[in-house]
Symmetry: C2
Subunit: 306 residues, 2 copies
């Protein structure tokens, strides 16, 4: 494959940046991958495992001379990083990010981007509950979506080149408006994460059910919540603080809905519950048909079926 | 291994009964497994796939002459089945069940059990989001817990023999009080399921985010909720109706907790959110250490890591 970029700078070296570095290498998409992280320990680990071609001491150093700079830091840190690298950006370079929130990132980053540099916000919908430079793997983006939320006036060639990079890393690329992105993600990701954190928190508080029992008997349901609630705390703090309006909107709807079901339980309305639970099965079917999950019986974490 | 029971009757042939039949056969634990189901179609499928040694037309017929009868029907149907089989139970037989709720099952079943027959309630903590006679597999109970909630006065030999059967099917067996069981399960299973159903319902209602977008972009978080919310509607309706008090208790705590986090988001209290999310990580660690889940990065559904 032709090289899409000569030098890619990854700012921040967690799960997403690490997986990008490995996925770009897998497909031979770029000339050189340079990386940097604020923490010296993270830089040392990245050097040790050979995550990038070169590890730089600062974001400014990494960004200098790169034709693509990708901000892979928590959403709340994007603005400061953009400000730091701005004077060092090469003319014609593309700056992107991988933040889970788009409107707030655009507001924080766009003002710092100099004339002649293109800011193209993006969000790969992929992740695991692990974090840090050792957590990345080349297959993370395979058959996942990467959503672009281009600003008006972004040249088609800039979008096309970055789209090709993500496709080369295995992803399906689509574009949408930043506000719409934030609402969709509030439904599919942000609110579910908050709910999972909450349920795990409830279990943690409950003194009549000791922690060891909750852990021991976690097989059905709760186990999946703890997996979600093991995700990176800093990333998720920033997501909620920066997608506040959409998350609060969806949370309000969730609470209303929960009260309706809670009332049905209290009143013994089995018909309503059965109808509700039957309807939710259909969405699962759709997700499997869309190739976003498998039909293997995962609750049992079973490898084989009889 | 010595045969533990000569004839086991499985009443109801869904995921749990099917997996029991296969697990008992795998380990050669019993002489004969007979099964029955209310639906002629289920009986036909079970016959076709050879799930049991013999399929009976009625619960009464299946129970007759069995030294172990296991009720594998939804919790709300247990009482009627117990009443039907009661006149046909062999003296000295053990009757058990696999219901996710124990206090209500005991209240419904125990009054029908004749003198000289032992009722030993049990709940294997295992399942998948699939249901029906084709969904069972022999490995379902491997390294999972089966909780017994014995009634006062149950002979130790009866408990010991049934414990050996579950251990032979791969499970770890523990005993506890029925009320405590219902509270523990309200935390680890029932409330998480209700919450997952609710979140999927919210997504279904939301018209600004079309269903196809929710499905397409479901990779992080929501996908796991849909898996939970694809579980058998009849089973779960009965669980909520029959573990009402404990579920409503935990739901109340959940809502309180959610409001605290929601307020932190509204007020921009990042420190509180970060601390909360850090604490919930520890419980996940405990579950992995207890062998109830793996540390593989499942959000990415990844088979390999870099």
């Amino acid at each position: 494959m032709t090289q899409l970029y000569e030098r890619v700078a990854l700012i921040g070296l967690g799960l997403i940046a690490g997986s990008m570095a490995l996925a770009m290498r897998r497909a031979g998409l770029v000339g050189e991958v340079v990386g940097t992280a604020r923490s010296a320990e993270t830089r040392a680990v990245a050097t040790e495992i050979g995550l990038c071609d070169r590890i730089c001491e600062s974001a400014a150093e990494a960004a200098a001379g790169a034709d693509l700079v990708v901000l892979c830091v928590p959403v709340g840190a994007m603005g400061a990083v953009a400000e730091e690298i701005a004077p060092h950006l090469a003319p014609g370079a593309t700056v992107s990010d991988v933040g889970s929130v788009k409107r707030a990132v655009i507001a924080a980053v766009a003002p710092h981007i100099p004339e002649g540099v293109h800011f193209l916000p993006a969000h790969p919908l992929a992740g695991t509950e692990h974090s840090g430079p050792r957590s990345g793997f080349a297959e993370l983006f395979d058959n996942r979506f990467c959503l672009l939320t281009p600003l008006p006036g972004t040249p088609g060639a800039v979008i096309g080149r970055y789209t090709a990079l993500w496709q080369g890393m295995g992803a399906n690329v689509e574009s949408m408006d930043a506000d719409h992105h934030d609402l969709v993600l509030a439904v599919t990701s942000h609110t579910p994460h908050l709910i999972a954190y909450t349920m795990v928190g409830v279990a943690d508080h409950l003194r009549r059910v000791t922690e060891s029992e909750v852990v021991k008997y976690s097989a059905a349901g709760f186990r999946d919540f703890t997996r979600i609630a093991a995700s990176d705390p800093t990333m998720w703090r920033d997501v909620f603080l920066h997608n506040r309006d959409a998350t609060l909107d969806i949370l309000g709807r969730f609470t209303e809905e929960l009260f309706v079901l809670q009332r049905a339980i209290r009143m013994g309305d089995g018909e309503m519950l059965h109808e509700y639970f039957t309807r939710t099965r259909a969405i699962r079917r759709g997700i499997i048909e869309a190739g976003q999950d498998t039909d293997a019986p995962d609750f049992g974490r079973a490898k084989t079926r009889g």
